[in-house]
């Protein structure tokens, strides 16, 4: 899942980005309104965490421009403005969620998870594909009754594939949603991580979980 954080207060920006990254998200960060809008319109983000009082362009303008441009990314407003009018105004301008500073980091993570699920029309925080089971809140993965240990990056890749289970997911999509803007790795890294996942998840004698669809990408579970 890829998250954009637009927050101008450096310590908070740093903490939020760090926390989200540790939770397995690919996080892009900016403290500047105009740059934030540019990031949000030129990349596919699952969730945008948006501060309202920003240099150069305020959060409400960014939100309105995003919606006017037809961007469907899920926006969580993270602000110190706590009045009823502010909240109503924010949600009515097209935000999906509103969280007032200071906040519990746990809550921010839970809300980002919920928005990420919603991005793929999923309600159940527990994802199941065949005998593969993923608990998104705790990021634990089981194959049958056996728990599988994954690195955060492997988990992020698997979660994305699971969110889109049954569909063919292109390398570009994976690249867009699992890796950060400033990632140094090239797109081969996708294939490498698919290899890692297969090694940890596939069981001999069972049908393969991650299928390669020639020329189009990968698919998790049954499907076309």
């Amino acid at each position: 899942m890829r998250v954009l954080v637009i927050e101008d207060y450096p310590p908070l920006q740093k903490a939020v980005a760090k926390g989200l990254r540790e939770a397995g998200y690919a996080v892009d960060v900016t403290g500047d309104g105009e740059e934030g809008l540019w990031y949000a319109t030129s990349n596919e983000y699952d969730v945008v965490v948006l501060d309202l009082m920003l240099p150069k362009m305020d959060g409400m303008t960014i939100l309105k421009r995003l919606r006017a441009a037809g961007r469907a990314c899920h926006v969580l407003i993270l602000t110190a403005k706590d009045t009823l009018a502010d909240r109503v105004h924010g949600l009515d301008a097209g935000a999906d969620d509103y969280l007032v500073k200071p906040f519990a980091f746990e809550e921010l993570l839970a809300r980002v998870r919920a928005l990420a699920r919603r991005a793929y029309c999923i309600k159940n925080p527990r994802l199941e594909v065949g005998d593969l089971r993923i608990e998104t809140p705790t990021q634990r993965v089981w194959r049958g009754k056996e728990e599988v240990r994954l690195t955060p990056r492997e988990y992020a890749l698997l979660e994305y594939l699971a969110m889109r289970a049954g569909q063919v997911v292109s390398r570009t999509d994976i690249w867009e949603h699992v890796y950060e803007f400033n990632s140094e790795a090239d797109s081969n890294v996708v294939d490498v991580y698919i290899g890692y996942l297969r090694k940890k998840l596939e069981r001999p004698g069972r049908p393969p979980l991650i299928r390669t669809v020639r020329g189009r990408g990968y698919a998790l579970g049954e499907g076309p």
Partner: protein, 474 residues
């Protein structure tokens, strides 16, 4: 008497009563005079009738008047009286009602009837008319008798009548007038009460409207349509007051909201930094980093809270300022020293032209705060490689200080807002935490408290703050 209603009632009813009373007195006077006059006229009429029957015959005065024919003289209880005297007070004729008694003899004025209030022989109050006239002998009789014509004889006639009926009439009149006055007074009271109540109703309505205004509905205005003309100025003033009040409340709310925002954001920073740091076991240097971040935020918060407190104390007049002579150059250098290294690193040129012997009157601690704020602003907003000028001069009874820096992106219009609390200029250069927009507000309040002035100007990318402080008295 504080009640407007009571005052209006008393004055209107009192005024009306006085008017009616004066009217009554006048009516009484006129009526009394008229009744007296007709009483007198009637009395004089009777006297003339009797007088017309008086004759002189050979020096003897006679009257051919029979009072038995006139009912007024025959009244058993209140009869009229008359008595006729000839020469030498000789009684010629008296009314039957007198019996053997006499009316008191009085000299009559020749020709003119004279009226006197007297006690009548029956012991009642009455009035008499006294008439004196000359009786000549009848020329025909004289002609028959021949001889020289006798001299005319002067006779005096008095007619008395009880004044009880007149007094009764007058008493009736008084009673009538008094009751009419009282009735009119009561009626006036009733009418005035209703009129006053009706007239003062808009005041009550206004009080109700004002009473309903709370701090959460200050936007309401008192409707001036249909308000009595006399109250319109009050309504208008009240609306003006409400407008000002609303503005003050709006500013205070904005201030509170801004202060909350400025405090919440760093709080969120501390909380998130700590929560993320605690979310798993980390290496010591990561904890160190997190603690360092928290410390930085705490310092910023502390400075902001200090500024906020200083500002609110200055505005509330709680700061006891102790003006003393302060060497400006010395204090500026002291406030500059924490900034010097960072400014030099950014290749900023500083021009410092403050005479060492320049002394101004100010509260030292607060002036230091003012200078620190101004210098920190200048240092933070100057572009790298830019220029800061600190110039001061003595001008008669004041000291002028100008601190200017290049790299200003404010328009003159924006510059007009710099003294507002929490106002930030180009926020791209003043991100949350570093400058929260309190510094210049504090500078202004403090300098004003010293008895000085401060203003800002923007020209050609140079931002200048001019401070004028009272000079120390020699």
């Amino acid at each position: 008497m504080r009640s407007l209603r009571a005052r209006l009632l008393v004055w209107t009813v009192g005024g009306m009563a006085l008017l009616v009373a004066v009217f009554g007195v006048v009516v009484y006077g006129v009526m009394r005079q008229s009744l007296n006059r007709s009483f007198n006229a009637s009395l004089a009429g009777v006297a003339r009738t009797i007088g017309a029957t008086v004759k002189q015959e050979g020096g003897q005065v006679e009257a051919e008047f029979d009072d038995r024919e006139i009912p007024a003289f025959r009244h058993p209880k209140h009869p009229d009286y008359f008595e006729l005297w000839g020469e030498g007070r000789r009684v010629v004729l008296r009314s039957t009602s007198l019996g053997q008694k006499d009316l008191e003899w009085r000299e009559g004025d020749a020709g003119e009837p004279r009226f006197d209030d007297v006690r009548l022989p029956n012991g009642r109050d009455g009035r008499r008319v006294t008439l004196a006239f000359q009786v000549k002998a009848d020329p025909e009789e004289q002609a028959k008798q021949g001889g020289p014509a006798p001299a005319p004889v002067t006779v005096t006639l008095a007619v008395g009548r009880e004044t009880a009926p007149l007094k009764a009439d007058l008493e009736l009149l008084v009673r009538l007038l008094v009751s009419a006055t009282a009735g009119a007074g009561l009626l006036a009271l009733l009418v005035a009460a209703i009129v006053v109540r009706q007239g003062l109703a808009p005041l009550g309505a206004l009080a109700g409207r004002i009473g309903a205004i709370r701090e959460d509905n200050l936007a309401t205005r008192i409707p001036l349509d249909g308000m009595p003309t006399e109250m319109e100025p009050i309504g208008r003033r009240l609306n003006d007051l409400l407008l000002r009040l609303e503005e003050v409340f709006r500013r205070e709310r904005a201030f509170t909201a801004d202060a909350a925002h400025e405090l919440r954001t760093p709080l969120a920073g501390i909380r998130s930094t700590m929560e993320v740091a605690l979310s798993r076991l980390r290496k010591p240097d990561e904890y160190q980093q997190a603690l360092g971040d928290c410390l930085t935020i705490t310092r910023q918060m502390q400075s902001m809270v200090d500024n906020l407190l200083a500002l609110s104390r200055l505005e509330g007049g709680q700061t006891a300022l102790q003006p003393e002579p302060v060497r400006l150059a010395e204090l500026i250098e002291k406030c500059w020293s924490p900034l010097a290294a960072a400014v030099e690193a950014r290749r900023i040129v500083r021009r410092f032209d403050v005479p060492a012997d320049l002394v101004c009157m100010a509260d030292r601690a607060n002036l230091a705060r003012v200078l620190s704020n101004l210098l920190a602003n200048a240092a933070d907003y100057t572009d790298d490689g830019g220029r800061i000028e600190i110039v001061a001069i003595a001008a008669c009874d004041a000291v002028g200080l100008k601190i200017s820096n290049t790299g200003c992106r404010l328009s003159p219009d924006e510059a007009a807002h710099v003294f507002e609390r929490f106002w930030r200029g180009d926020s791209s250069r003043a991100a949350t935490g570093v400058h929260c927009g309190l510094g210049l507000a504090l500078v202004q309040r403090a300098v004003t408290a010293f008895g000085g002035t401060v203003d800002v100007g923007v020209a050609g990318g140079v931002f200048a703050v001019r401070v004028r402080l009272p000079a120390a008295k020699a």
